[in-house]
């Protein structure tokens, strides 16, 4: 088994099939052990899933070897790659039947009281004021795609799947949401509601 960060990468890239096979077997076992620790207590993940995630994680690590920069232990980096793959798959399964049309349609209701009721945060005047201002800002500042993306994100839709449905790259998808949050924050500030006011409203 490789014991240093450099030897892991070298062994996984080795021209010697035997050395490469030993490294891959060792890494796969390490990933499986980690996945058991991280996901073993979930009801929707059995041993067969863990085995699949370990194998897929190993392949993802091999495909991304060039991206390992040595700023963490190799095994830490490899586990993060395998976890990302496993979580992406688990989230995708839960949301596989949602269409873009349904996403956009739901987003169109985001600024309505049926989706965002006045008493969402409670019945205090300040809380209601923030929610009403938020609805107005959502209706007037955001595009249909931004409304759909926010609604989906709040509902837990996997970001990768959201981007696929919207037809954007991951970076473009993040920018879409970031621009929306910035626009809403600016609009609330213009209405005299600061970041602190917002935090007070939902923490009281």
């Amino acid at each position: 088994m490789p014991t240093t960060e450099i030897s892991w990468v070298e062994s996984l890239r080795s021209a010697s099939p035997a050395e490469q096979a030993v490294a891959m077997k060792s890494l796969r076992e390490s990933l499986l052990k980690g996945l058991r620790i991280a996901l073993g207590d979930r009801g929707d993940v059995g041993e067969a899933h863990l085995e699949d995630f370990a194998q897929e994680g190993l392949l993802r690590v091999l495909a991304k070897l060039d991206q390992f920069q040595g700023r963490s232990l190799f095994t830490t980096w490899a586990q993060s790659v395998a976890l990302n793959n496993a979580f992406t798959e688990l989230r995708r399964k839960r949301w596989k039947d949602v269409s873009l049309d349904a996403l956009i349609e739901k987003g169109e209701h985001l600024a309505e009281p049926s989706t965002l009721p006045d008493d969402s945060l409670g019945n205090h005047e300040e809380q209601t004021k923030v929610v009403i201002a938020m609805r107005k800002a959502i209706a007037e500042e955001l595009t249909p795609k931004q409304r759909a993306a926010i609604h989906a994100e709040l509902g837990g839709m996997p970001f990768d799947q959201l981007c696929n449905l919207l037809g954007t790259s991951r970076n473009a998808g993040y920018k879409l949401l970031h621009d929306a949050r910035r626009a809403l924050k600016r609009r609330l500030e213009e209405a005299g509601i600061s970041g602190n006011d917002i935090q007070t409203a939902f923490s009281s």
Binding site: Q69, S72, R91, S120, M134, R170, Y174, R182, K185
Partner: protein, 82 residues
């Protein structure tokens, strides 16, 4: 939330507002977070000080439930192997 449901729960509204309150003009995205999550997690567990780049990762984690979920899972693995 159920994928078919419409009305946001109080918890979702609170999360929405929390994200807006924490929004900065410049933020790192998920791909940068994933690339650096190993280093970030090791330093957090070791109690080491975070540089600006890793502080930006911490801010992203406070806004992104998915990256945060993956960070917690990685932390669990690293702590178990200590």
């Amino acid at each position: 939330m159920n994928p078919d449901s419409q009305q946001l729960t109080p918890a979702q509204v609170s999360e929405f507002l929390r994200q807006i309150a924490l929004t900065r003009d410049q933020e790192v995205d998920c791909s940068v977070c994933i690339q650096n999550i190993g280093e970030f997690t090791e330093k957090k567990i070791a109690g080491k000080e975070l540089d600006v780049a890793l502080a930006n990762i911490e801010h992203h984690l406070s806004l992104c439930p998915e990256c945060s979920e993956e960070y917690e899972a990685l932390k669990k693995i690293l702590e178990a192997s200590r």
